[in-house]
Symmetry: C4
Subunit: 248 residues, 4 copies
């Protein structure tokens, strides 16, 4: 007899396939390497979410998906290991009813903005969501010297205080988190946070201290409207590439 | 009974295949990702142009091509969606009888030059067309805070005032446009605007404020002569790569 | 009758396959190009080690592996050529009983840190091992003008004095060395030294002289704990990719 | 009856296959895109050389190779077009009896060093040949505003005065030339000039005006010794990749 939390109920094969595909999409787009993870809230039960077992994201298949409660306790681990940092996901689903999907990554162009006192700004309309501001979580402020991982509830709570109502947040000397109201949007946010960071590096170098005509906050709100549709179009492209490789 | 504009007359299968291939070439060359589009004026009727339905450019097939009038109204949508920014294309074909093909993209190395007060210059002979000068369109000057998209006639007109008689123009916090007198030239301009931007970033960093011996305007005019042939040679290479993947 | 040193005893096919695969993994990850090498100490006899014959790492197969003593004399060359710089490997195995595997590479992002007076720092937790400090070996200090290669015992000894008890060290105008207590860890150290260098370049540019909130030494020690597991997860991914190509 | 110069005599199929492969290798290594060319002096007749017809280097096959005299007149064009800049090759073979193979390319990282008053230096031993110094040819000094191409004997002569006895030279706002005493060495020089330039860009940025401990001229000479063997090892790897694609 198990103490594991109960399942939130069955989900479709397509739901699981999409979550596994999202994992591989993030690898194909250079957002994750051997590390990083994406989760999706249970479509019928807001108190559960799904995420792969602890493994490289490029290898995830639907069978590797585990269901968790919001304490990040697995419902159906069956001996499969869980990511140490699953608490990031459970914590956000608790704190943010609007969020349906969460990506955690160490995408390389983004990391510098968590190490230096320079704000990420929205360089173009596809990254309009950046214009709302990108907070930086420094784990050492509350917890001193650590292994940098958000590996328990206390650290997850501290992270969520910094994230607030934003879609993305940086983690000093670690990586970043991107949220979405759909899995397509979470993937889109993660990819274009990295793309925006690449563009901003070159823009900063070019500006050499002169002003950068980034999106204003108001332009950011307006330009993010069409991004809902854009996220679906990008997903269609990326999802098809995975399907051609996997047959699911 | 349809209010759609009449077709400008049939075009060859090869014409449509080349336009679809151009779309995929731009994706293969890193000029477009899931977004961006290329159009071609009707070869027999200057008041019509062709462009794919709203979709990722890497996936476009000849069957996805829609015909438009210069108001950017589709002649044969058949329920297929149109790009929000098709007005860029229709507007240019109206304003510029010399232009036969137009690319709109967000290629990443180019965007910084629309955000910072630093002119794009021609770093080498293949980008000689840059030496004529690259104007920057800032949509906020006439329209205040917007979603950044050139999504109607008024915005397209304002863009065309900035473009003038140039082959390329930047759009602040958005992307760029490249025109050509042939589809091969439009693709060539789009690709080498991006390549030139990459080279200029490193050149600016290396110069650190010292002079850059870019092409002069006169050298630009002279060096652009051989680029007509160069565009065809590049097209041969890129077109063949698409043919090997698609059989069209 | 041969003067070659005796073998340290047979090893498994899997051992040799893993070493050959590690060579190809380093090529696939951009750590080595046509040059560079990885070795593994004999699992049963600490006085012997294994490394491929002199060849491009992307082409190494299990049959190309040669056994060496710690003087870097081949036990079973059979006419196959040895790397000129094998003394790097033998020297480290003599000096460092804790080290089981050694990578030597010229990975491009790392080289600048051996040419300029700027320390490599750990930009994120996966490169936590960098926080212990990265010494730079300048061969000219003891040997004047040379061909830059660590091609004999004296140069290897001089290198080992600089390496000390660290996992990685740079070689001025040449490349770097990464050690591990397992082959997985050596590969992980080599890959994430390069990744960290890429991130640090952008961080330095962004900081423009302002402070960089890199991992502290204490954070480095703590964050390197989970990297043992991380190295295995990365290995699983990369090893599988090689297996799909080679069937070993 | 043709006025074309006589052939220097037959060459082996392998000779032509290697030259065609070298063309494709340069494309695969990112040294050439749709443009650029490599030639090889006739092995038995120093007054003739071989180069492909005017086409994208990634597509060259042995059948596309044309023989030229040192005036760059084709012996066997048979209606096939010649590169406008073949005079670069013929001119070097006249001026430099030691040179057996020549590459002309526009490799992107190299171009900035022809535009800014900053010398290329040898960042590591594989680019040791750079330490001898890299002259810059500015076509405008003798010829004023041009199309930038070395498209006749006078321009080729002026280029050769700048090249002198060096292995590589830059061409302002255009590209560069790499020579070798073998085809393997010419390819190696072209590839590692580009790799060295990439590394130097990051090193310059990191140094921010502080000294760079590049190879000294003496170290350059010494370190270039082992590069003969290195060029062969790299060739083995790259040549094999082409053979797997082409069966020649």
């Amino acid at each position: 007899m198990s103490d594991a939390p109960k399942s939130g109920g069955p989900v479709t094969e397509e739901f699981l396939a999409n979550l596994a595909a999202a994992s591989r999409i993030l690898a194909a787009q250079g957002v994750v390497d051997a590390f990083g993870h994406i989760s999706h809230r249970h479509p019928d039960n807001p108190d559960r979410y799904f995420m792969s077992k602890s493994m490289a994201p490029a290898l995830v298949s639907p069978d590797d998906i585990i269901e968790y409660d919001l304490e990040s306790e697995p419902c159906n681990a069956d001996g499969r290991g869980s990511f140490l940092e699953r608490f990031i996901h459970g914590g956000i689903y608790k704190a943010r009813p609007d969020v349906q999907s969460v990506v955690h990554s160490h995408s390389p162009s983004v990391i510098p903005f968590g190490l230096v006192d320079e704000k990420m700004c929205a360089m173009f309309h596809n990254a309009a969501f950046v214009a709302a501001g990108v907070p930086v979580f420094d784990i050492s402020e509350k917890f001193g010297a650590t292994d940098m991982l958000v590996s328990d509830h206390a650290k997850s709570d501290a992270f969520n205080e910094i994230l607030g109502d934003k879609d993305i947040a940086l983690m000093r000397a670690h990586g970043s988190v991107a949220c979405g109201t759909t899995i397509q949007e979470a993937v889109f946010h993660a990819v274009y946070t990295e793309v925006n960071a690449r563009i901003q590096h070159w823009t900063q170098a070019l500006s050499n201290g002169r002003p950068i005509a980034a999106l204003s906050e108001e332009e950011g709100v307006l330009a993010d409207g069409p991004n809902q549709g854009a996220a679906l179009r990008a997903w269609d492209l990326w999802r098809r590439e995975i399907r051609e490789q996997t047959n699911w």
